[in-house]
Symmetry: D2
Subunit: 293 residues, 4 copies
Amino acid sequence: MIRTDLAIENREIYNKARRLEDKIPGVDVEEEEKNNIKITRVIINAEEGAEALNKPVGKYVTLEIPDNDQLTTEHEHNISLNIGRELKAILDNKPKSILVVGLGNEKITADSLGPNVVDNLDITRHILQFAPEEIDPNTTSVCAISPGVLGTTGIESSEIIKGIVEKVKPDVVIAIDALAARRIERINTTVQISNAGIHPGSGVGNRRKGLTKEELGVPVIAIGIPTVVDATTITNDIVDRLLQDNISEDDKSKLITELTKDNNYVVTPKDIDDVIISLSNIVAEGINTAIFD
Amino acid sequence: MIRTDLAIENREIYNKARRLEDKIPGVDVEEEEKNNIKITRVIINAEEGAEALNKPVGKYVTLEIPDNDQLTTEHEHNISLNIGRELKAILDNKPKSILVVGLGNEKITADSLGPNVVDNLDITRHILQFAPEEIDPNTTSVCAISPGVLGTTGIESSEIIKGIVEKVKPDVVIAIDALAARRIERINTTVQISNAGIHPGSGVGNRRKGLTKEELGVPVIAIGIPTVVDATTITNDIVDRLLQDNISEDDKSKLITELTKDNNYVVTPKDIDDVIISLSNIVAEGINTAIFD
Amino acid sequence: MIRTDLAIENREIYNKARRLEDKIPGVDVEEEEKNNIKITRVIINAEEGAEALNKPVGKYVTLEIPDNDQLTTEHEHNISLNIGRELKAILDNKPKSILVVGLGNEKITADSLGPNVVDNLDITRHILQFAPEEIDPNTTSVCAISPGVLGTTGIESSEIIKGIVEKVKPDVVIAIDALAARRIERINTTVQISNAGIHPGSGVGNRRKGLTKEELGVPVIAIGIPTVVDATTITNDIVDRLLQDNISEDDKSKLITELTKDNNYVVTPKDIDDVIISLSNIVAEGINTAIFD
Amino acid sequence: MIRTDLAIENREIYNKARRLEDKIPGVDVEEEEKNNIKITRVIINAEEGAEALNKPVGKYVTLEIPDNDQLTTEHEHNISLNIGRELKAILDNKPKSILVVGLGNEKITADSLGPNVVDNLDITRHILQFAPEEIDPNTTSVCAISPGVLGTTGIESSEIIKGIVEKVKPDVVIAIDALAARRIERINTTVQISNAGIHPGSGVGNRRKGLTKEELGVPVIAIGIPTVVDATTITNDIVDRLLQDNISEDDKSKLITELTKDNNYVVTPKDIDDVIISLSNIVAEGINTAIFD
């Protein structure tokens, strides 16, 4: 019932449930802080860790940034540089060609992060192809698509992307998505970069199918930022906090359904429209930096 | 701490606190249901009632409509007709000239109801003034403005409107606003029409000053629809529900602040962007109907 | 140098050049007028006709509608019905599954017809696939995509569509595009429906590759509306009109380049933003009618 | 019939008609070029000059900038600095409070320059008023409004602004407007700053009333950028060029009406949507610089 797309939150939940402090078998963790940005690298390197955290094997890098509405242009630039550096590290060998995918519904503000990032990228594939004289031939080929969402296209994003991957044949796919978090303070303040792809049920719009190496045939790097918390999640947390264990799972489930009606409500900052624009610029600049600098 | 702009919710709160069923001194209530729309008319006709409900003397008509995403074109039209009829009744004598004010921030989805309604109105004032040969001279003069919000204009909406009212001299002002409700199920399903104007602290954007007859010199009809519930409100309700009275007001206040961080979060439907467009059309058609049919 | 996407204009040009009245070898023409809509069906049925009109063999149906800013809701509905009927006729056997493609750049008003039409379509494919109990199993499967443009994706629209067609395997593709016309009075008043697909160099955005049966492996129906005239086209016409043949082709070419600077300017109505919204609704309703009624 | 809002173009027309080179009685002209920006200051200092140029007495500073789609971030910043410096010079004594007015229709791309500039300004009036502890008390008070257009509000922009000026009582009004030019190459490449206010018939939307010191009671600085050329203007120029004086005014007028149908068409760059966003940022940064640096 509790939905989170952040490995860092799965780790918190796991540790709390076990009353552990830190070390989870099959999971390595590195932490670092610079310029007000806390970076946590969760590396799940064995099935044991994957099961513990309920996430596939892979690297999950989290950047925790200060609250968005206090950011100066300089702060934003600094966050972009850090995203760029972590993305570069996770891309391993510098790819020659990249397809960037902006997941989500451009017309629903909280779900529009992906399409907005795509709108701010430096695209080079068509220049390399049709005007090679205008560009250094060693430039990485970048192309990008916002495939829309199942409800408005009638087609799974993963089907659209697979069709395009087979034509474009990129070395790697970078997929951007708006995520759901578990805690209000994560909204718009946490950037997760992972080489484990995008998995079913992730994202604000609750995708049905994943975007993974198995599915697409090329590595998939996922960049996600939580933009909402489900109303059910937040209610569940309050109930847990207040009643601790003095309620049966059954009664709790009934109570939460009653309190939140159905699962169609989300908690979101009042100024979400502004914040999405700012975050999209930050992430796009981060990607541009990782690829071209 | 609990914020609601709906007289119907104030009444519920009052009755619940008193363990009363219905009759509040100084308050008359009429209820009616037709075509799936429940209409409640709360008439506060004495100071005693105003104090009880914490609302100024006046009429507050509430239309409760079925959940928005199941509405057919026909349902929408029917709701518009009902809004039109109730608005007409509250306008008393048919005014000769009307200024419609779309309160709120067009760029923040949950706050954009007012400006979107204004975009869909039939405007006649300039035709009567500059092309009188193209229009029946008895047509009501309608003009409209979306004054923006304090944070982006630096000017109180009420100052802007007062300046314009002094130039345009309308018989009545109709002000549209996105409201905050107390209960999730009110979001986008309740339309309140009132002749008591708009009061400080109302609305999603938490206006500082009201739009009232005292302020503007002409009657002010307010049309509002709740589009959010504050995260603090919903948390407060859950806490009340779970702990009943076994918590001091002080501890409760601390707990809620901790659970919701600050007051910058709202609960909103996932598809708020779509819903606002649909509601704006419904309200605009309702106003057009009340004036021109 | 003269650019037009309308078969009806190629015919005018051909006839004028030949000083002919009507009959072109290899070309049949039917004309009809009802409810203020003039319908012309140009059928190119032999290579001879294709060469004469510089258009591939196929059917080209043109609906000429009255100027957009005088349209009532009823007129709009009537135009939709006519588009629906002509589209149905050109679709031959009722297809079981359709992919609708909205060509053009959503962010450039004059080029946004296609994406806007797609936003207003009734999509059924995902319901048939994931919630078959909610829908009549004989419903035509409709899905849709707006692939963006080469300049912002780095990928030819035709490559994207081909990739998707190979996954989705529709019986037919319907592609919507904003066109360039030769004469100002065609802008926003002429709808062309054709079974000859979309050809290189068509459209406001000057596509490089076509969308045709040869390219995609399934029939391609194109629906287009001119939304601009190139500034060079209009200047060319004025020069021709004023100087008739008293100027060499070379001098004319120089003169036009000088008068219009480069080919980056278009002539468009002042209220293009409003008109595109209205036309998108009309075309979407037309397609919905052809498929579902 | 020929419509231009640029003093620099009136001067060209005057000089050409007289076959003069430069000096017009009652008019002083200064020219300067730096960093690829040509600055022309036309000072009309006597009625004689006002009549000659068909513009009121006042200063008209024109910045001619290179074509917009080749601008780097650095170029844009440089243009903003130059706009800022010229605006500062024309503001005379540093005003204590400023009302910025964004004229035009936000929903019509070519007319949306003003509202878009307003969205990017640094607003301080409400902070000085409601949170004085957060701001240096010597900060200039800046507030801003986009009054919409007559066709959608039913109220003249000048009436709305006058009403607001009487409430806010600024020392000066700065009004931003999208203009019509006479020559294609001026579109989006020429910025005019003037202390003569905005006059009837100016702007893309053809305003009916001006915004002037006489009208509002405070000085009005106008900042305008041409975003369109009327189709009639461009046609007139072509006819003049081709036929020179071998056509009567009457015949010419008929010919132009026939060629351009009515006056509802404009010539505009294909990428106008992108360009307006870029220009709005440049002008807003220029104003912010003039006021706060």
